[in-house]
Amino acid sequence: MNLNNKATAQNTYDAIVVGSGISGGWAAKELTEKGLKVLLLERGRNIEHIKDYTTAMKKPWEFEHRNRLTEAQKETHPVQKRDYPYQEANESYWVNDLECPYTEVKRFDWYRGFHVGGKSLMWGRQSYRFSDLNFEDNKKDGHGNDWPIRYKDLEKWYDHVERFAGISGQVENWPALPDGQFLPPMEMNCVEKSVKKRIEDHWKKERIMTIGRTANLTVPHGGRGSCQYRNLCSRGCPFGAYFSTQSSTLPAAVATGNLTLRPFSLVDHIIYDKETKKAKGVMVIDSESKENMEFFAKVIFVNGSTLGSTFLLLNSTSEAHPNGLGNASGELGHNLMDHHFRCGASGEAEGFEDKYTYGRRANGIYIPRYQNMGNDKRDYLRGFGYQGGASRTGWHKDVAELAFGGEFKDQMTQPGLWTMGLGGFGESLPYHENRVYIDKSKKDKWGMPVLAIDCEFKGNEQKMRVAMMNDAAEMLEAAGMKNIKTYDNGSSPGMAIHEQGTARMGNDPKTSVLNKWNQMHEVSNVFVTDGSCMPSIACQNPSLTFMALTARAADYAVTELKKGNI
């Protein structure tokens, strides 16, 4: 008895944060800085900043397979290999799919990384605010439920997270893409500058093109170094020049003296106390020893990634919550969304033969959504933005197919064509039937049941894709590009790695899982602040919004805790 009490006391914290990725790192930082003793749980191994970025300084020829995958890697990574992010250069950051299977009722590409920092190590770093256009769309067209917040609720939290994370970008005064607290923008190259001017002139600034807003530092910031323009971000940055848990939020949390980080801690379920009607802690499986243990806290932040968090909630059943924690609405697991992309156009630029670029800019350009705004009306709902860029390669127009030989070789070493591409990122609607649930017919390496994913894009997305191709071609043409080609390479949910929804926020406990503070309607001391909380996904890259929502929720949670309300 005495021993047990001691063990419980040792395992008790003010707050537990489940997951150490982008949003979990923010939760840990904000909660520790407000004085809470925090236990940060991570299911995978630790990766120490800089020291463990083992490939970061390698040269191209130091990779045995020159960044291609071996047959053995393809066998253990049948999902991760489906698209380009899983490469030789950062293969240790991606899960072995055989250890953590899931059920694809329909194809869903689930990209995961089990380690401290999560996908904050490998993310694309594009950072855009949502606007009221986005917060109001659900209400306007009746798809999904109304967001319980508006831009004014989140604005100061965007300010807060941008100031710390360091986002470089250009102020544009574009209403659908609010400006932020920017570090100096990266430079467009000469072709991009020309395209920007011609598009903005042609459409009289009803369409704009800006440099990508990215969490790469263009000047030293907060003790971190500035971008060295190597474009090797996804290996981990030894200069700390992009935002990740390791470079940014984790050191801040550690500096408070209030943080305990525990890697190899897979949370099996949240322990619910039916007397207090609150969560009292979590049951953890040590993912190395498979030993079970319990940890306790007054507040729990769930930040295990969109589908990781929803799995945890679905798996946290009890007499009072037979269908998953806080799931009286029945919405837990529903309304899964992702961006659809891999669709657009490219063309060749002429007249810049005497110009070239220096340095490898890990950033492109951005054309924010302009459809279904003002006078622009479409035959589909919502809209898309474009990412893209111009570059000059060693490819030359007159090179024959499968050419070889000395002349060909020497030609390949001289700067050749300038090409410019635009690729759309489209919003998908929140469909109730796009959902996940627990499949007990399989078990993963740790003895846990698995997630079943049943999700597809539908007609609105398909219609939008036609416009994503045609508009891109139209703008490239207006910009004077030649030999324009459109493409649609197909897009399966999950591929954009912007999966969101399944534990949505809302005002009504009957139709949503979380309230406007990301707090569970039914369990007041549990907060969910990763992508699972999103009632809609807009077309912008979402991570910045997860950061802002997390900081806002942490502030609220601590205030409520101090008031004795939770």
Binding site: H65, R125, Q126, Y487
Partner: protein
């Protein structure tokens, strides 16, 4: 859209998913599940030499060193063993055998012994045949698909790699990959800057400017 465009379109989408590393056009691997193929005896010693000479015909020494100096031959042998499914490995071995047989038939000598000119002639034919075969395959596939693609739900993405393996296409692909990512190719044929430190979006071309690797 050819594969090169497909890869480029991915490279543009920097924020799409996760960061692309080198914007090389050589990102892809091949797509199969067989892996009982890591046999070290896939090629005979002579075939290893043949691969080296073939690579050096594809990327020869000019004012900069060629594929042989960059060690591309052994690289290709290793890549075919490690990164290709059995079916493609077989195509590759058969391609080597055919090349050698044709050399003997046309020039009464091993590919290893014939002149550079003769090698170019043989490889040129191989190249023309491969282009024709790929073209025919593309046309056949295009004929199979409905004239106009109707709205497909769900919009599934294709697998990363599809299509028939061609000996010359694999050999050329691996030669280019191996050469331009080798230290010799990246630093002498191309210009390699390890840590650029800044980005200049608009610089004047210098005379003799090489592509940055």
């Amino acid at each position: 859209m050819d594969r090169r465009d497909a890869v480029k379109s991915v490279a543009f989408l920097l924020g799409g998913a996760l960061s692309a590393t080198t914007i090389g056009v050589f990102l892809e691997g091949c797509n199969s599940n067989n892996s009982d193929n890591k046999g070290s005896n896939l090629f005979s010693a002579e075939q290893d030499q043949l691969i080296t000479e073939l690579a050096d015909t594809i990327i020869p020494t000019t004012k900069t060193p060629g594929a042989k100096a960059a060690g591309v031959g052994p690289f290709i042998s290793m890549m075919v063993k490690d990164c290709y499914p059995k079916e493609a490995q077989e195509v590759f071995v058969k391609g080597l055998e055919d090349l050698e047989a044709r050399s003997k038939k046309e020039f009464n000598n091993s590919f290893l012994k014939i002149s550079v000119k003769q090698r170019e002639q043989l490889v040129g034919k191989l190249r023309d045949e491969t282009v024709a075969a790929q073209k025919a395959e593309n046309e056949q596939n295009a004929a199979k698909e409905p004239a106009k693609q109707e709205l497909k739900v769900p919009l599934a993405a294709g697998d990363r790699y599809k299509g028939t393996s061609y000996f010359f296409a694999i050999a050329r692909d691996l030669t280019l990959l191996g050469y331009f990512t080798s230290e010799v190719g990246a630093t002498q044929a191309l210009e390699y800057v390890d840590i650029p430190g800044r980005y200049d979006g608009c610089v004047d071309m210098k005379p003799g400017q090489r592509v940055y690797s």
